[in-house]
């Protein structure tokens, strides 16, 4: 039975080491909980409470009743009342709403004509799940309880009418790839130097903290831009992903996102004591970035708590920015809220990183 003895010794040692590595130990418990909550609650393929805006130009009792009935379905939350179709389109382009309801001045008269659509349902097609959910608003099942003849809305899908999923996946993929590589590369690059003792030597040279930090992230900024261009190029040539906005805007946003992730990587490097920990921490950021940012599942369908977490992640804001520019042709001015959020994240991460990255070994 000597072999059992030996196996027991190694297994016991393994458990003892694991208990001392608090981060790994935490992962054992935190990962299943996090996954369960994310997949159980946050991920909803039949989202409700999509942000919507209404342009009710007829302003009659019937049109108000109709809008009220649509809101009752809980598929949409009416956030804005506007006065024109152009205003609806602007809100959608800026990413503020994903559904627009346009009721023309002669809405009531049209209702009586079953062969004509009484109004229009404008849907943001840059997320195919949202698109499907919004389209259900006009399906017979949903409109049947409404009195009289079924009033039809004509669906107008914006940005991705063919419902090709690469079109909305590819721009988001830039964000996922950049989160993964930029954060991990910087974190590991710095932790590795500390682990191998290189940093101890560098600290005694005249190079300053900020010089060292800038020099370490500079190559990765370039790498990040190359990665983004590669995805754009492949997305265009393989999947005909359009570029409806301005290239300069897109790259400005990508650059901001790269730097934000590098700052995050720097921050992680000051917290992790070895390369494995740096990878674990990156994973902790990456997983919610994929699941909560709106990349895989619609943001509107998630419960409040998940949305709050998502708002903290740079990926969520980048998702909205890049989809806005690439798919909806939005301008930076229309997306300034998201830009500000990303900028704030960068400022905080950088401050924490610089403060913690002191040029001593204390």
């Amino acid at each position: 039975m000597k072999f059992l003895h030996r196996i027991g010794a190694v297994a016991a040692k393994e458990v003892r080491q694991l208990r001392r590595d608090r981060l790994s130990f935490g992962m054992i418990v935190a990962l299943p909980i996090m996954q369960l909550l994310l997949f159980g609650y946050a991920i909803n393929m039949d989202p409700r409470h999509l942000s919507a805006a209404v342009a009710d130009l007829s302003g009659t009792a019937a049109s108000r009743q109709y809008v009220h009935d649509l809101a009752q379905s809980q598929v949409i939350d009416i956030k804005h009342q506007v006065g024109s179709a152009e205003a609806l389109e602007a809100l959608m382009r800026a990413g503020q709403v994903s559904v627009g309801i346009y009721l023309p001045p002669d809405f009531e008269r049209r209702l009586a004509q079953p062969d004509r659509a009484a109004g229009q349902l404008l849907i943001d097609g840059s997320d195919t799940v949202v698109q499907a959910a919004a389209a259900s608003l006009v399906s017979p099942a949903r409109t049947a309880p409404v009195a009289d003849a079924p009033p039809t809305l004509e669906i107008r899908t914006y940005y991705n009418p063919e419902r090709r999923s690469p079109v909305n996946t590819v721009p988001g993929l830039i964000g996922i790839i950049l989160t993964m590589t930029m954060t991990l590369f910087t974190a590991v690059a710095i932790v590795r130097e500390r682990e191998r003792g290189n940093l101890e030597l560098l600290i005694t040279t005249p190079i300053r903290s900020w010089e060292l930090m800038v020099a370490k992230i500079l190559p990765y900024i370039f790498i990040g831009l190359v990665q983004a261009s590669l995805i754009f190029w492949l997305g265009d040539s393989l999947f005909r992903v359009p570029m409806r906005g301005d290239w300069l805007d897109a790259y400005a946003v990508i650059l901001l996102f790269i730097v934000a992730n590098l700052a995050l990587g720097l921050m992680i490097s000051t917290l992790a004591s070895n390369q494995f920990q740096a990878m674990q921490m990156t994973f902790f950021i990456l997983l919610p970035s994929i699941l909560l940012s709106g990349f895989m599942f619609p943001f509107d369908g998630m419960p409040r708590a998940a949305q709050w977490i998502a708002e903290v992640l740079p990926m969520t804001h980048f998702m909205r920015l890049i989809r806005g520019i690439v798919l909806r042709g939005a301008e930076l001015g229309e997306l300034r809220g998201e830009l500000a959020a990303l900028g704030a994240f960068l400022a905080i991460a950088l401050t924490v990183a610089v403060r913690r990255f002191d040029k001593t070994l204390d």
Partner: protein, 318 residues
């Protein structure tokens, strides 16, 4: 400020949590000398060096290095000092030349000067044939020469060497020390930590550190002359048993066996230590073939200076 001093510390102290790694150390290191830190592992050698080159902030006390107050002026100091870490800390995945070029650039040497220094250094430390080789594939001695060369690229006035020869064979150690004397002759001050007696003996001056405290300092000769003990060499037929008998005596500070001989450190208060040692061994029933008083070696000095609970023994003797 004394012009002749490279380093001056007063009450230098560093705590790591509850542990006091360096405890009120006063040092005066003259210029153009090899100054040694001798002490066992954990005696505070590395911590002291790290404080002196600005890597660690002292908890208490003051230090002036090359006229710069530490840690306030540590940045200004960095151009003037070179540091060779205990563990090889250059890049193993870069070649010897890439490592040297990199360090020269970090010290912002101009292109022509960089080329000149890299050539000079690689020739002086036998790296010329290794320039294209990855540093990770070098032997212990080659790595050490590379590390020394890299620390000297910017021609520092003061060189910190933290246990530089721990991964090196005796022959390379010897060559290494010869090269250190070349540097001193050119005006460099060298502060080297070691736990090898033969290396300590080569230093112009020494500080013996013990549990963070400065146990003794001075030139090896002065330290041996002023040793706070009497050294007796004893030859006997039963050295192990005789040693045990001696060790039980309160005035015997330490007994070490060297081959068949016993090297006994006796308290200075014991006037005729030779007679006392011989008498004690005979009384225990062992033969004394030879017993004489000998000059102290550096190891004797080290043992006497780092003796635990020495005061307690004294009190028992008195």
């Amino acid at each position: 400020m004394n012009e002749g001093l490279a380093i001056r510390t007063r009450g230098l102290t560093r705590d790591f949590g509850a542990l006091r790694a360096v405890d009120h150390v006063d040092l005066d290191v003259p210029r153009s000398r090899i100054y040694g830190f001798l002490g066992p592992n954990g005696s505070g050698k590395s911590t002291t060096i790290r404080m002196l080159c600005g890597l660690l902030t002292p908890t208490e006390g003051s230090a002036t290095v090359l006229g710069h107050a530490i840690p306030a002026e540590a940045e200004a100091l960095r151009r003037k000092v070179g540091y060779m870490t205990q563990k090889f800390s250059l890049y193993e995945d870069l070649t010897v030349r890439e490592n040297l070029d990199f360090m020269a650039e970090v010290y912002a040497l101009r292109r022509a000067r960089k080329r000149d220094r890299v050539d000079t250094i690689s020739e002086r430390y036998g790296l010329t044939r290794l320039l294209g080789q990855r540093a990770g594939t070098l032997s212990g001695g080659q790595k050490q020469r590379l590390a020394l060369g890299a620390a000297l690229l910017h021609d520092p006035e003061l060189l910190f060497l933290d246990e530089p020869t721990s991964a090196v064979d005796p022959e390379n150690r010897r060559a290494f020390w010869e090269s250190l004397f070349d540097l001193v002759e050119a005006g460099t001050t060298i502060l080297v930590s070691t736990h090898y007696m033969d290396e300590a003996e080569r230093c112009h001056e020494l500080a013996i550190l013990d549990q963070g405290r400065l146990a003794a300092s001075g030139s090896p000769q002065d330290l041996a002359r002023d040793i706070d003990a009497r050294v007796v060499l004893l030859r006997t037929d039963r050295p192990r048993s005789a040693g045990k008998a001696l060790h039980a005596e309160p005035w015997v500070l330490s007994v070490a066996q060297v081959g068949n001989e016993l090297r006994v450190l006796a308290d200075k208060a014991q006037e005729d230590a030779v007679a006392a040692v011989a008498a004690r061994v005979r009384a225990a029933g062992y033969e004394v073939a030879h017993c004489e008083s000998v000059p102290a070696s550096l190891e004797d000095v080290f043992v006497a200076a780092t003796l635990p609970n020495r005061t307690a023994r004294r009190e028992r003797a008195a």
